[in-house]
């Protein structure tokens, strides 16, 4: 049986540190729900409830709880906290949604990132949180209710064929300003939380999930207006599921990789893997290995849709003229099906 971690040894600068970090359990981490309170007040509430915590140095709204589960605390009961691993907070920060925007979360359940997106939007604008699994959507709904999210529309679709029809149609609803594709993946990045992934991993699963990842990313790009952004994220180290998927999107859709700054130490995307080469721009993606920041593993890349990113060209927003984009026919065709 292949140890998936050994598979990536050649990509890692310090394999010993990488393996050692993968063996260590992760601390319990909570994100402060800024829809309901502030980081400062949440810390005060934890103090009053007698719960130990350490702020995560790169983000004031993330707190490590050395004594374990956040569920049994008053601030959690009040909906001020949500259990969420540190690296899992990165894609929403990379997407940087703004209040009032239309935002899409293509594979949203169980909702950690979706509720974080809502908080970053100040619970204003429209967040469409989609997932193909009705069962997992139940968890998302529970989390959204508990945290007080009011700007979310929850949809149950296969994101590869996402249709705007339930939202009233692509016109007049409008395409999204920003989309997050937190894709289903082979998940070795979560090994510190769930060591079983090491045994359950197999190459066949990688091959089967790649098609889903490509389909979801492609449809998310089509559903995002020119000038908008799409963040692609996974918790796998597999280049097949990361850079290769980006390379596919670059060749099939009008989009390009752009620089994004993450508040943690990362490594660039890789351009070669097992005889395959990828577009040079995939270097702009971020690889997060567990030993770099003592976190889980992660992959995150930002794509700009259309020729220009907001702010790079003239002052006009791309929303109206973008409707003439060449891929429009394809998008509408899928909507109708």
């Amino acid at each position: 049986m292949t140890d998936p971690l050994a598979r990536y040894e050649s990509l890692v600068d310090d394999p010993d540190a990488f393996y050692a970090a993968c063996e260590r359990p992760l601390p319990s981490v909570v994100r402060v729900n800024t829809i309901r309170t502030t980081a400062e007040r949440a810390r005060r509430a934890l103090d009053e409830a007698g719960v130990a915590y350490e702020p995560v140095d790169w983000h004031p709204g993330l707190l490590r709880l050395p004594d374990g589960s956040p569920g049994r605390t008053w601030p959690y009961y009040h909906g001020w906290l949500h259990g969420q691993e540190e690296v899992s907070a990165l894609p929403a920060l990379a997407l940087d949604p703004q209040p009032g925007e239309r935002v899409f979360d293509a594979a949203a359940a169980p909702g950690s990132k979706a509720t974080q997106l809502a908080a970053l939007m100040d619970d204003r604008g429209t967040l469409v949180a989609n997932d193909s699994s009705l069962g997992r959507l139940s968890a998302l709904r529970h989390n959204a209710e508990r945290l007080g999210v009011t700007n979310v529309v929850v949809t149950n679709q296969d994101a590869r064929n996402f249709s705007f029809l339930p939202l009233g149609g692509e016109e007049p609803f409008g395409r999204f300003d920003r989309s997050l594709v937190d894709a289903p993946c082979s998940c070795e990045g979560t090994v510190r939380k769930n060591p079983d992934v090491r045994d359950e991993w197999n190459e066949e699963h990688v091959r089967s999930v790649v098609g889903i990842q490509k389909g979801i990313l492609r449809r998310a790009i089509q559903g995002t207006r020119p000038g908008g952004q799409v963040v692609y994220a996974t918790c796998t180290f597999a280049p097949e599921e990361n850079e290769a998927v980006l390379d596919y999107a670059l060749s099939e859709e009008d989009c390009r990789l752009v620089e994004s700054t993450l508040p943690v130490e990362t490594r660039p995307g890789v351009t070669e893997w097992q005889g395959e080469t990828y577009d040079d721009s995939v270097r702009l993606a971020h690889r997060v290995y567990p030993h770099l920041n003592d976190t889980g593993g992660f992959f995150c890349a930002t794509l700009a849709v259309g020729g220009e990113r907001d702010g790079e060209g003239d002052e006009t927003e791309g929303a109206s003229e973008g409707d003439e984009a060449p891929d429009d026919a394809t998008a509408k065709g899928e909507v109708a099906s």
């Binding site: 909906g79 204003r124 429209t126 009011t150 939202l167």
Partner: protein
């Protein structure tokens, strides 16, 4: 003073699932299967319908209006209309209302959720949800009951408790406790006959240590 009526059991506990609504339609409005010859629109329990602004805009019989909902929160809890500025309200199932801060270009959508569940209507006593109390309760100026740390603990466990000191209205109250410099909503309680019944849904109950009195 109200006598009784609001359902005090934890029926809300079933509200979490996206498809739990149908089972709760105990007080259906008009028949959803209204025949083709009937020109009166009826409430379709499977989709979300935007509430009309006012009674003059009402098409579906029995459907509450946005104005009635905003007035109700103002009358009952002093949560003013400005809190709901920009919000639309949607009905799914019989009388189950959701508050939505976003924008949808249509008045009916077939999705799994639109915003936050806030209120159960189409029954004699309208019942606010725990989610509504937690999200909007900080704006309440009346019919909120401040609990001691011990009482808050009992409440969060979902248990009923005698509280004799309340001399306000009976019915649904927003329970609060003091935390981190101010009152924080704990959920909805039903006050009847000297007793505060916790209606915290099963999935949200916690057995917690009382906060230290300060």
């Amino acid at each position: 003073m109200t006598d009784d009526g609001p359902d005090a059991d934890g029926a809300e506990g079933t509200d979490d699932g996206p498809d739990a609504d149908g089972a709760e339609g105990t007080d259906d409005g008009p028949d959803a299967d209204g025949s083709d010859t009937d020109p009166t629109p009826t409430n379709d329990g499977q989709v979300f319908d935007r509430l009309p602004e006012t009674a003059a805009d009402r098409v579906v019989p029995g459907r509450p209006t946005r104005a009635e909902v905003v007035d109700w929160f103002d009358d009952r809890f002093g949560i003013g209309p400005s809190v709901f500025e920009g919000y639309s309200f949607w009905e799914k199932g019989a009388g189950k209302l959701w508050a939505f801060a976003g924008d949808l270009p249509v008045d009916q959508v077939d999705v799994e959720g639109v915003g936050l569940t806030v209120l159960r209507t189409r029954q004699e006593h309208w019942k606010p949800t725990t989610s509504a109390a937690l999200r909007f309760g900080e704006h309440a100026t009346r019919n909120t009951i401040a609990l001691t740390p011990e009482e808050a603990t009992t409440f969060a466990r979902g248990e009923d408790q005698p509280i004799e000191r309340w001399d306000g209205d009976w019915g649904y109250l927003i329970a609060v406790q003091e935390l981190a410099g101010g009152p924080v909503p704990l959920g909805v309680g039903l006050y009847l006959y000297g007793e505060l019944r916790s209606v915290v849904p099963k999935g949200s109950r916690e057995d917690l240590e009382p906060l230290a009195s300060r």
